[in-house]
Every structure is written in structure tokens, then in C-alpha cells.
């Protein structure tokens, strides 16, 4: 990291650099600003031919009206419940698996690790159709018989929204890398004290990988909140819709009500922006590790 030049008067090149970067940053943020500005305009102003960039009359009431026009609050609650469940399940089970793969020698552990790596490479669009069928034909659920016939299985249930995406191979992989870096001495001392494997994992090792826990938790929450395709496929009823699907349905049904649509989009975007600003360090770490979204 270069720390030169900070006390000298800025060189022309440096000023040009700041100006360019500011312009780029502005271009990146403009769509977000346009979203917020639109959400605060009246429909009349949006539709008028000579519309100005900023609202002449700030219509803060749009937000309350948008929540009445569509159950965005319910959608957001659903998204939150699913994202929170995914986060907890993924952190707990993927860390257990990552720990076992990194620190416990057992027959086939290396083979299992390669299975997870292979799972990491399966594209979403190859597995999503059969996943849908498994949900649809889930035995003894939603009126299905033992062979998955007769009912609708897990379709339109919380099960379908939460269970299939609960544990990700990516999280297992990331946890394994973090557990691998821990010193053997920690583990040996605990073993001498007579601790069982699970307690070594839970009491000794896991507190040492807190950054990994935070990274996985934040990335899981973010991708779950932003997920669109899967909830779109497995839900039909309005009461189970997540925010992203809710927005797309609102777009289809009320395509011209841009002030409401942008208010809803702002509500859907804000939590992730805040989460990112708070946990930026962990997001950066996680993304730099994987490059996968």
C-alpha cells in the first residue's frame, strides 16, 4: 500500500485520478439515486412530459401507500424468515462438515472433500429442475402418498423455501479452509484434557474461526435474500411470496405504477446495502475468496 504524496500538494495526475474515480462512483450510484428519487415523486410528476430530475413535491407518503397497494411487508417478512433460517442452518451444519473434513482423519475423508468440490461446480440451472421435481413428489407431504403421487408435495410450503438451499457446498469449502489453518497444539491440548470430538469442535476450534462464521453468515443471508428463481418456482400463493418475487409480480400486474414499484424496490434493497456497509470487511473477504455470487 503506497502512502506517498499525502502531505505534498496534489499533482495534476492525482487530481485527474480523483475526478475520474468520482465520475465512475457517481455512475455506479446513479441508478440507486434514481430509484429513491422516483419513489418520492407523485405519479402525475412521473408521467408529465417535462419531468425534472428531482421531485418538485417530495411524496414520502408513497411508502405507506405502496405497503397498502401490495403486501410488501409480508414479502419482506418471508424473505427475512428464509434468509435467517438459511444463515443459521448453513453456519451450524457447514461448519461441522468443514471441521470434520479439515481436522478428523477418517476413511474416505479425502473422497468426501472432492465430492463437495464437485458439488460446488454443478450449475444451478442443471440441478434446479430435478430439485423442483423432488419437492413436487416429496413422499407423504402435501397429500402425497408414499410414492409421491396424488398431492402437491412441498410446493407452496416453507419446507420447499428453506430446506433445499439450507446448506451450501461453498460454505463447507470455506469453513474447511479456515479450520485447516488452526494450529494442531490447540486440538492436542483439548484431546489430552479428555474432550470429545464434538466439544473440541464447538468449544475449542470454532471460537477461533469467528471471521469465517461472520463471512458465511453474511454471504448466506445476502444470497438468500436476493434469491429469485427458486422461490419463483416453488411458491404460488401470495402469503408465501418473498420480496424479489413479490416485486416481479407487482411489476407484471401494475407495470405503470413506478412510484410504488421503486418504493418497494428501495425497501428490498435497503437491508442489503446496510448489511454490506456494516459488514463490508467480511463481504470483501468472502467474495475475494470465491468470486462466486
Amino acid at each position: 500500500m503506497a502512502t506517498t504524496d499525502t502531505r505534498r500538494p496534489p499533482a495534476p495526475g492525482r487530481i485527474a485520478l480523483y475526478v475520474t474515480l468520482s465520475l465512475v462512483a457517481l455512475l455506479m450510484v446513479v441508478p440507486f439515486l434514481w430509484m429513491i428519487v422516483t419513489s418520492l415523486k407523485t405519479p402525475a410528476e412521473i408521467a408529465s412530459a417535462d419531468t425534472s430530475l428531482l421531485p418538485t413535491h417530495w411524496a414520502f407518503g408513497n411508502y405507506a401507500d405502496a405497503l397498502r397497494a401490495a403486501p410488501f411487508a409480508t414479502y419482506a417478512r418471508n424473505s427475512f424468515v428464509i434468509a435467517a433460517s438459511h444463515t443459521v442452518l448453513n453456519v451450524v451444519f457447514a461448519s461441522m462438515a468443514g471441521y470434520a473434513l479439515a481436522r478428523i482423519r477418517f476413511r474416505g475423508s479425502e473422497f468426501l472433500f472432492y465430492c463437495f468440490v464437485a458439488a460446488l461446480m454443478i450449475p444451478t440451472y442443471t440441478k434446479v429442475l430435478p430439485e423442483f421435481l423432488i419437492v413436487r413428489f416429496m413422499p407423504l407431504a402435501g397429500g402425497n402418498d408414499l410414492f409421491g403421487q396424488g398431492g402437491s408435495g412441498w410446493l407452496d410450503t416453507w419446507w420447499a423455501l428453506i430446506v433445499p438451499g439450507a446448506i451450501t457446498p461453498f460454505a463447507v469449502f470455506l469453513f474447511r479452509q479456515f479450520y485447516l489453518d488452526l494450529p494442531v497444539e490447540l486440538e492436542e491440548a483439548a484431546r489430552l484434557d479428555g474432550l470429545g470430538e464434538f466439544r473440541i469442535y464447538a468449544r475449542i476450534m470454532t471460537p477461533q474461526v469467528k471471521p469465517a462464521l461472520t463471512t458465511v453468515a453474511l454471504l448466506t443471508f445476502e444470497s438468500s435474500w436476493n434469491n429469485f428463481l427458486w422461490p419463483l418456482l416453488v411458491t404460488r400463493t401470495d402469503s408465501l411470496r418473498v420480496i424479489q418475487v413479490g416485486l416481479s409480480v407487482f411489476k407484471t400486474e401494475n407495470g405503470t405504477q413506478w412510484h410504488f414499484l421503486m418504493a418497494g424496490t428501495t425497501l428490498a434493497t435497503l437491508p442489503m446495502v446496510l448489511l454490506f456497509l456494516v459488514g463490508q470487511r467480511y463481504f470483501v473477504q468472502g467474495f475475494a475468496h470465491t468470486g462466486l455470487k
Binding site: 434514481w34 440451472y125 429442475l129 424496490t265 434493497t269
Partner: protein
């Protein structure tokens, strides 16, 4: 301890892959049992003009979003690697689209591209230019979608390059400066070669995600107008959930799978063992 994750992966990743391969050789509409049809689905694909078009579109979209995005990401990373003040602010702004839902982003761009009162045509109107119908125009729809793709993906590429730049050995540059190498020369003979692993990493992950673009197409264009922005993922979705040809959709998804696997293997081959552990 690995059991819960293992069973979960077996049921929701292992089984689906086996099922996808099997169903690709069947005719299946979900209501009646799958019927084995051999290679018929793959033969149908050859005659499916829309699917061929979707492959071409996916390649065009990838060809423009990935290299341009990488170049811009690299330039921004180089700019940010120079110990600027307010560097965090720039980085945050550039990365913001990456953490936002693609659906939300696409909705905002749908409004920006709105022919009557969208941001673009309003701005063009200030100069007396009447803008095109962007997403509704067969010639402008794809460039419009590509612009959104570049805009959203730039942050990730910048971030990976930035992380790589910060790990470069500083003493090499000092030695080069002593030898009188110009900054440009240093960039081409030191920085760029050392960034090779990062470049391949960005390339492969970007290719994989560009090939799986779906949300923005669903919201922005529905694959239209006249199929001018349809992608492979979108055709898979349509075959399965609008035409209920699940066997055919699985066959299409296998083609996508093979292409993506190809990228990964080529990457492995070229990269060799240069990427540290694993």
C-alpha cells in the same frame, strides 16, 4: 459431523444431477411417467432455432460483459491501489450493485430504460435527441442488457484484482525503479504477469456467472423482443415451466453443464498448480 451436510448434498445436488442425466433421455411432462426416447431431445435441440439463438445470445452477452468488465475492473483496481484518500468510499460505491438483488437492479434499469419518462430518454431529451425504445427495440435490447451486466459485475472483478494487487511483492518494483524502468514498463513486465492467476480466476468465475444470467432477462425483456435477448437459462426455464417439456429442458441444461465444465477444465489445465493450496 459431516453427515447432515453430506445427506443434504446427496439429496439436493447428487440426486438431481443423476435425475437430470436420466430425464434428458426421456419425454416427460410431470403429469405422466417419463418415457425413454433416446437421443430425441438432443436431435430436437438441433432443430430448435430459438435454442440456437439463445446459445448465440449467451455467447454475445458473455463476450461483451466479461472482457470489458475485466478491463474496467482492473483499471479501477489499479487506480484504487495507489493509497488514495476516500478509497473506501469509491470501493463501496463500485461494489454496491454486486450485493443488491439482480431483480431489484433490473427493475431500476427497466425504469431507466423506459422510453417515455426513463432517465436515459429524459437526459437525451435535454439535448433535443429522441432516444430509442431501448429494451423494446431488437437492435438496442441486447446492448442495454449488456450494459446492466457490466455495471453490476464490475465490483467483483475490481475487488479480486485489488486483493491480488495488494499481495504483490513490493521489492520487485523498487528494484525495477532503481533500474530505471518506467511505470508503464513496470506494469507490463511485472504487474500484469503476476496478476495472471487473478486474471484466470476472474475470467472463469465471470464466465460461469455470465452463462447463468437469468433474473435480469426475466425482468428486463422476457427474452424478447423476438428472442433477441433470450439466454440458455431462459430457454431451459421456458421449456420446463411454460411448455412442460421437462425431459427436453433437462437435455438443454446438460448442454449448459458441459459448456461450463469445459471452462473449468480448461482453466485447470492452463493454471496447473499455481493457485496455492487446493
Amino acid at each position: 459431523m459431516v453427515t447432515p451436510a453430506l445427506l443434504h448434498a446427496a439429496l439436493w445436488i447428487g440426486l438431481p444431477i443423476i435425475a437430470a442425466v436420466y430425464l434428458a433421455f426421456t419425454s416427460y411432462d410431470v403429469l405422466t411417467a417419463p418415457r425413454f426416447v433416446g437421443l430425441a431431445n438432443f436431435r430436437d435441440m438441433l432443430d430448435d432455432a430459438m435454442f440456437r439463438k439463445s446459445i448465440v445470445n449467451t455467447v454475445i452477452y458473455t463476450f461483451f460483459t466479461v472482457p470489458f468488465g475485466m478491463l474496467l475492473g482492473l483499471l479501477l483496481a489499479l487506480a484504487l491501489d495507489r493509497g488514495l484518500r476516500a478509497r473506501g468510499v469509491f470501493r463501496t460505491a463500485i461494489f454496491l450493485p454486486q450485493v443488491t438483488a439482480t431483480v431489484a437492479i433490473a427493475l431500476v434499469w427497466l425504469w431507466i430504460y423506459n422510453p417515455r419518462n426513463g432517465l436515459f430518454n429524459t437526459l437525451l431529451g435535454l439535448f433535443g435527441i429522441e432516444g430509442p425504445a431501448w429494451l423494446a427495440s431488437t437492435s438496442w435490447a441486447m446492448p442495454s442488457v449488456i450494459l446492466v451486466g457490466i455495471w453490476q459485475g464490475i465490483g467483483m472483478k475490481m475487488l479480486i484484482y485489488l486483493a491480488a494487487l495488494q499481495n504483490l511483492p513490493k521489492d520487485l518494483y523498487e528494484a525495477a525503479s532503481v533500474d530505471g524502468a518506467s511505470p508503464v514498463r513496470q506494469f507490463f513486465s511485472i504487474t500484469l504477469p503476476l496478476l495472471k492467476p487473478a486474471t484466470f480466476f476472474v475470467l472463469i468465475t465471470s464466465l460461469i456467472s455470465a452463462f447463468q444470467s437469468f433474473d435480469q432477462i426475466y425482468i428486463l425483456t422476457d427474452g424478447g423482443p423476438a428472442g433477441s435477448t433470450t439466454m440458455m437459462t431462459y430457454e431451459i426455464y421456458k421449456s420446463a415451466f411454460r411448455e412442460f417439456r421437462v425431459g427436453y429442458a433437462c437435455a438443454q441444461s446438460l448442454v449448459l453443464f458441459v459448456l461450463l465444465m469445459g471452462f473449468t477444465l480448461v482453466n485447470r489445465r492452463i493454471m496447473g498448480g499455481t493457485r496455492g493450496h487446493d
